[in-house]
């Protein structure tokens, strides 16, 4: 117990140690996070009127980001499956970064739901009267928190074992890894069901939402990891092979292909049928009369995604430059498509046919940026602490020693 507390304090202290780039990055993130906090305080005082949301478009940027981040949390599972099921060696020592990212992503997702609430201080009502299993939102609360706990346990356990320089007991984390795989699928499925279960919103009321959700998540999550892993590689001496990155590239390529295919299926069904239900899709892709707010966005997203996918198909993206380029495009493309492109059109037109467009306010955007900054801050700290521990530079028998030679972990 004492040892565990020392571990935590040492980690905490370690998170304040770094070179100027580290400080600069952390300072930047802290400032943005504080700006977000400031904006949220304004929202807390004046209500959600500080956002662009209305009775017509009652969910906006927050829920869009929430949706996207639930997807990103899947990145972990795309590393876990190859490693634990297919025994992929290249990815083996990278899994932990995926899991840590899942932790950060879920924290962000939960924050996004919280800031979306009109009465956040009544959060405990969830504990007192939980409309389970009828409300999909209660399912989401369970699966998201469960996934967070699972990943915290797995990462925490592995890192703590490394700190104690002892071999992790398989029994203590293997079962959880496999539960986490199924659980990761469930967080997407449940989040998709949140939308697709609403009969009054034809744009969402489609069975393809959940699979599309999974596919885009399995593309954007690993794409994000490809980028972060390179950052880790260049700022630490942790070995990350190009082979590992290329394995991830394959995963991204396949997932993105499926995503684009499903998108095509949806577009076909909507537009070929051309029933009264097409209005939202029309608003998204072509605009309804003078109302074209999302049209440039969605076409940007489709453009980015298509170019990214083509790049991924071509051998040039075996080179890291092109691969990174493709990943960046894809992350942005999916963010638009899965975020605003999925949430907002369902509200336009309203079920009574009124058309009111939605534009996020500055305050709302600041809150969102703040949450992102906070999430990245959490992730940076987690990684920052993890690497030395895995290397044995910080362990139970010695204070943090940056110059110690990396020691292999006991296997």
């Amino acid at each position: 117990m004492i040892q565990y507390l020392t571990f935590l304090t040492r980690c905490f202290r370690l998170s304040f140690v770094g070179d100027w780039r580290y400080y600069l990055w952390m300072l930047f993130l802290s400032i943005v996070a504080l700006l977000g906090l400031n904006a949220y305080c304004k929202q807390f005082v004046h209500g959600l009127a500080t956002t662009g949301m209305t009775d017509q478009v009652s969910w906006g940027l927050y829920i869009a980001n929430f949706t996207y981040l639930v997807g990103m949390a899947a990145a972990a599972v795309m590393l876990v499956i190859p490693v634990y099921i297919y025994r992929n060696r290249d990815l083996h020592n990278l899994v932990i970064f995926g899991e840590l990212f899942a932790v950060a992503a879920i924290i962000m997702a939960l924050l996004f739901v919280t800031v979306d609430l009109g009465r956040p201080e009544r959060f405990h009502h969830l504990m007192l009267r939980f409309n389970f299993p009828i409300s999909m939102l209660t399912w989401d609360v369970i699966v998201l928190n469960g996934y967070l706990l699972l990943n915290l346990h797995i990462c925490g356990y592995l890192i703590y074992c490394a700190y104690c320089r002892r071999k992790p007991g398989k029994f203590f984390y293997y079962p959880f890894v496999f539960i986490a795989i199924a659980w990761a699928i469930s967080i997407h499925t449940v989040t998709a069901f949140l939308y697709s279960g609403l009969g009054g919103r034809p744009f969402w009321n489609s069975a393809v939402i959940a699979p599309r959700f999974l596919a885009s998540a399995f593309a954007a999550g690993p794409a994000f990891l490809i980028l972060t892993l390179q950052v880790i590689r260049s700022t630490t001496d942790y070995t990350i092979s190009d082979r590992a990155l290329l394995t991830l590239r394959n995963i991204v390529t396949i997932a993105m292909t499926i995503n684009m295919f499903l998108l095509g299926c949806e577009v076909f069904t909507e537009f070929y049928t051309d029933s009264a239900h097409v209005a939202s899709a029309k608003y998204l892709f072509t605009g309804l009369g003078p109302h074209r707010g999302l049209v440039p966005w969605i076409w940007t997203a489709i453009g980015l995604n298509t170019v990214a996918l083509l790049l991924l198909y071509l051998p040039v993206s075996r080179g890291l430059q092109f691969l990174n380029f493709a990943c960046v495009m894809l992350i942005i493309g999916v963010w638009i498509e899965k975020g605003m492109g999925l949430i907002v059109p369902a509200f336009i037109p309203t079920p009574l046919g009124e058309i009111v467009e939605y534009i996020p306010t500055l305050n709302e955007s600041l809150v969102s940026l703040g949450i992102w900054a906070f999430g990245l801050l959490v992730y940076t700290i987690l990684v920052r602490v993890t690497v030395p521990v895995l290397f044995g530079r910080l362990s139970f028998d010695r204070e943090y020693d940056p110059n110690a030679l990396p020691e292999p972990l006991p296997h």
């Binding site: 370690l14 304040f16 140690v17 770094g18 070179d19 580290y22 802290s30 400032i31 504080l34 700006l35 906090l37 400031n38 305080c41 304004k42 005082v45 004046h46 209500g47 959600l48 009127a49 949301m53 209305t54 009775d55 017509q56 979306d116 609430l117 009109g118 009465r119 009544r122 009502h125 969830l126 007192l128 009267r129 939980f130 409309n131 009828i134 409300s135 999909m136 939102l137 209660t138 609360v141 949140l194 609403l198 009969g199 009054g200 919103r201 260049s234 700022t235 630490t236 001496d237 009264a276 509200f347 309203t350 079920p351 009574l352 046919g353 009124e354 943090y400 020693d401 940056p402 110059n403």
Partner: protein, 351 residues
């Protein structure tokens, strides 16, 4: 080959000891911590604008869900709300918790042939139910519909003729349909909204967490959210109020039409019905076979909006014909022209 981020600035290779706390680093750490704290305080500054809007009282925080309150709990809650209303608006409200009556199921029937789109119901509702005036919250939306469709997407929500009705349109008021299979109730994560035995779907404004999932789920766009603190002047307050209906709402919670349950459960009619100059609105207990609504459901060709979403509304629309088709002279003439007249078997084939 690479730079290591954890190289503390004071760590050099000939210094085998891990960096220890020196006075310099201590000072630096303190300054940083102080700076961070100051920034945090600055970020939290807007909270100071928080005026105690009677919102965060401990009593309210500890208040139980409506269905779990004992009569004493309810009395306490009512007393608290009365005091709050009086303090805020200077009006002593007649606040109570009106319970549903046994053997009653309310339905609404709206005669589309009569409605002239004057929006009198809309404003009567706002006045009756203590809705926020700015931003104005309205429970009833009257849609101006072109002839030949019931698709509200083709309607106009914001018609502004100096005079209604416009001869080429008909008017379709929409409010909460008090569905018998309400998706809004299904989705609420905290059971802040539920269906009462008399068919009215209500909201406990002290329980709602403001997630707006119900607003997304409602196929009739019947729900309204308090995005800002409702703005309501004391002289606009209707002191006749009940817990589950028109007591003033705080910001950040959902509200909607509740069939004026503080009136209707006590035998009066909804405010919108009383305000309607044409008698297009009919309301009553459908379980009473002699009620007007029961008669209408039996004899008129009623329909519900968006039947396909399966919500089973308790709000019916109908077009009122002068005669049943079989007695309508026009219809009889047309029928005879194609070789059939009322009462005769349908022609076999008109091929």
């Amino acid at each position: 080959m690479s730079v290591r981020i954890w190289d503390g600035p004071s760590a050099t290779l000939d210094d085998p000891q891990p960096p220890r706390m020196t006075r310099r680093s201590f000072l630096r750490g303190t300054t940083a911590a102080a700076g961070g704290l100051a920034a945090l305080v600055a970020a939290l500054n807007p909270l100071r604008e928080f005026t105690q809007q009677d919102e965060f009282t401990l009593d309210q925080f500890l208040q139980k869900h409506y269905k779990e309150m004992t009569p004493e709990d309810m009395e306490k809650a009512l007393a608290r709300i009365r005091a709050e209303v009086e303090k805020r608006y200077g009006v002593r409200p007649h606040l109570r918790d009106v319970k549903p009556r046994a053997g009653v199921e309310f339905v609404y029937a709206l005669n589309l042939s009569r409605c002239i789109g004057c929006r009198k119901c809309v404003y009567a509702c706002v006045a009756e139910n203590n809705q926020s005036r700015s931003p104005q919250i309205q429970y009833i939306r009257v849609i101006e519909m072109p002839r030949g469709t019931l698709d509200t997407e083709k309607g106009n929500h914001h018609y502004t003729h100096p005079k209604v009705p416009d001869i080429n349109h008909f008017y379709m008021p929409v409010q909460c349909h008090q569905c018998a299979n309400p998706p809004c109730v299904k989705v609420c994560p905290v059971e802040a909204t539920w269906q009462e035995p008399d068919g009215i779907t209500v909201i406990d404004y002290d329980w709602c967490i403001g997630c707006r999932y119900c607003e997304a789920a409602c196929p009739y766009w019947a729900r309204r959210f308090n995005f800002a603190q409702p703005d309501l002047a004391g002289d606009a307050i209707n002191p006749d109020m009940s817990y589950l209906s028109n007591r003033p709402r705080p910001k950040g919670v959902m509200e909607k039409c509740h069939f004026c349950l503080h009136r209707t459960r006590e035998g009066r009619l909804p405010a919108c019905l009383e305000a309607c100059p044409t008698g297009a609105r009919k309301f009553g207990n459908v379980l009473d076979p002699n009620s007007e609504v029961a008669q209408i459901l039996k004899t008129k060709r009623v329909f519900v909006l968006k039947e396909e979403v399966g919500t089973l509304p308790r709000f019916f629309y109908y077009f009122d014909e002068r005669y049943p088709n079989s007695l309508d002279p026009e219809a009889v003439k047309i029928g005879q022209a194609i070789g059939c007249f009322p009462g005769s078997p349908a022609p076999e084939a008109l091929a």
